[in-house]
């Protein structure tokens, strides 16, 4: 059974969480809430290790509670909620506004971004001074409307290493093999799995279904993974 450890970025040791809830959407920003038996308030860039799952994020909020602190960590630099810098482009490739959006927010693009999407040319693009995440969603939504990409499933998300990925979903097979179905709601396309490791990731294929979003709840006794299947 994996334990969840929170440590400052670059450090080799950290604090174990008595409870960790890690939410990973297929489109958007992962975040985690950890209960730590400590009176020290973590801050700044941190790393979360949950078995094979390594996450790089930033402490967003932290508060004291009985016997410890409760910490919310947001992926990457945690600034995609900030207003984007307004910019206008004439005939840009998708990478240009996306790269500027990420960089202006203190984030960086993943080298694994889909080149076929990144190099697609738009007639024009206007970035407004609204939330950066909303702008990225709008950009990818517009790209997904391009006729040549209409049949593909496009997505974007902050990866575990904190970088921004965008592109066509390839739906690789999930690495999770050791699991049991604890609960299922077929009417909602939701599964709850009992697992030994938090391995299920968004954008993968599990039980011949596409995994949309995932929430891992890790306690010292068990790990439950709630899976929202893509419709």
């Amino acid at each position: 059974m994996a334990s969840v450890v929170l440590r400052p970025a670059g450090a080799t040791s950290g604090l174990a969480a008595s409870l960790a809830v890690i939410t990973m959407p297929r489109i958007g920003v992962w975040h985690a809430t950890l209960h730590l038996a400590s009176e020290v308030k973590p801050k700044g860039r941190v790393e979360i290790q949950a078995g094979p799952l390594a996450l790089s994020g930033t402490v967003d909020r932290v508060g004291l509670e009985a016997g410890g602190v409760r910490v919310r960590v947001v992926a990457g630099a945690g600034r995609l909620g900030n207003a984007a810098k307004p910019r206008h482009y004439t005939s840009p490739v998708v990478r240009m506004p996306l790269d500027d959006l990420a960089r202006d927010a203190g984030e960086s693009l993943s080298p694994t971004c889909d080149a076929a999407v990144m190099n697609r040319t738009l007639l024009a693009w206007t970035t407004l001074g609204v939330g950066t995440g909303a702008m990225i969603s709008t950009l990818m939504e517009v790209v997904s409307d391009l006729p040549e990409l209409a049949k593909d499933d496009l997505g974007w998300r902050l990866l575990g290493d904190g970088t921004l990925w965008a592109g066509r979903e390839t739906w690789p097979a999930s690495l999770a093999t050791d699991y049991r179905i604890v609960e299922q709601s077929p009417e909602d396309d939701v599964l709850v799995l009992g697992v030994t490791l938090p391995e299920v990731l968004p954008g993968t294929t599990l039980l011949e279904r596409h995994v949309d979003s995932v929430e891992h709840t890790v306690t010292p006794d068990q790990i439950l993974t709630r899976v929202w299947l893509a419709s």
């Binding site: 207003a83 307004p86 910019r87 206008h88 004439t90 738009l122 007639l123 024009a124 693009w125 206007t126 970035t127 407004l128 001074g129 609204v130 939330g131 909303a134 702008m135 969603s137 709008t138 950009l139 939504e141 517009v142 409307d145």
Partner: protein
């Protein structure tokens, strides 16, 4: 102004339709115009919008092109928006009330008719080039003949008629010079009213 209770709800509502800001139009000052008059660079008033370059003008009149005279005062304002709410399709349209001196020229490249300053006008704008060519053709032979006559009369001015010679010579030259130059007197820039 943010409310902990309603703020997240509003954020959710905005997130559910991320294109909503692109369905509005915003006032912007025109800062420059392309050489073909078709596009403008604009500075929107709203700080949420960037300076936007190469934005196509949609005048609302098919084929119309307008050349602007852009100065600091009076400024020229237009509304900017996006077709279909798509951030890839910006356009500028709907001129704010502005000084007539901001409009330098109008052009209808595919039209052969232009009615400006009309109310109950009865005078038509003539087809200047065609009219002048016809007039020149009509005038050609008589004027050449008249110039030749004056030249011949100047040659006959000898003896007591000699003081008349400069006059006939000048008349012949004036006719020839005017007829040669007058074909270039057609304007490409038209003033109405």
């Amino acid at each position: 102004m943010k409310c902990r209770l309603t703020g997240p709800l509003l954020a959710l509502a905005r997130h559910s339709d991320t294109r909503s800001p692109y369905r509005a139009s915003y006032r912007a000052r025109v800062v420059s115009q392309s050489a073909d008059w078709l596009r403008v660079d604009v500075q929107p008033d709203d700080p949420l919008l960037p300076v936007m370059a190469n934005v196509y003008l949609h005048h609302g009149v098919p084929g119309l092109r307008v050349k602007l005279r852009l100065r600091d005062e009076p400024p020229v304002f237009v509304m900017v928006g996006w077709l279909d709410g798509s951030p890839t399709k910006p356009f500028a349209a709907i001129w704010a009330p502005t000084s007539p001196s901001n409009v330098e020229a109008l052009a209808f490249p595919t039209q052969d008719r232009l009615d400006l300053g009309q109310r109950d006008a009865i005078d038509a704008v003539i087809k200047g080039t065609a009219y002048r060519e016809a007039e020149q053709e009509m005038n050609g032979a008589p004027l050449v003949g008249l110039a030749a006559t004056y030249s011949a009369m100047a040659l006959l001015c000898v003896g007591p008629l000699l003081p008349l010679k400069p006059g006939f010579t000048a008349l012949a030259k004036a006719i020839t010079t005017f007829e040669a130059k007058s074909e270039t007197f057609l304007s490409e820039i038209v003033r109405t009213g």
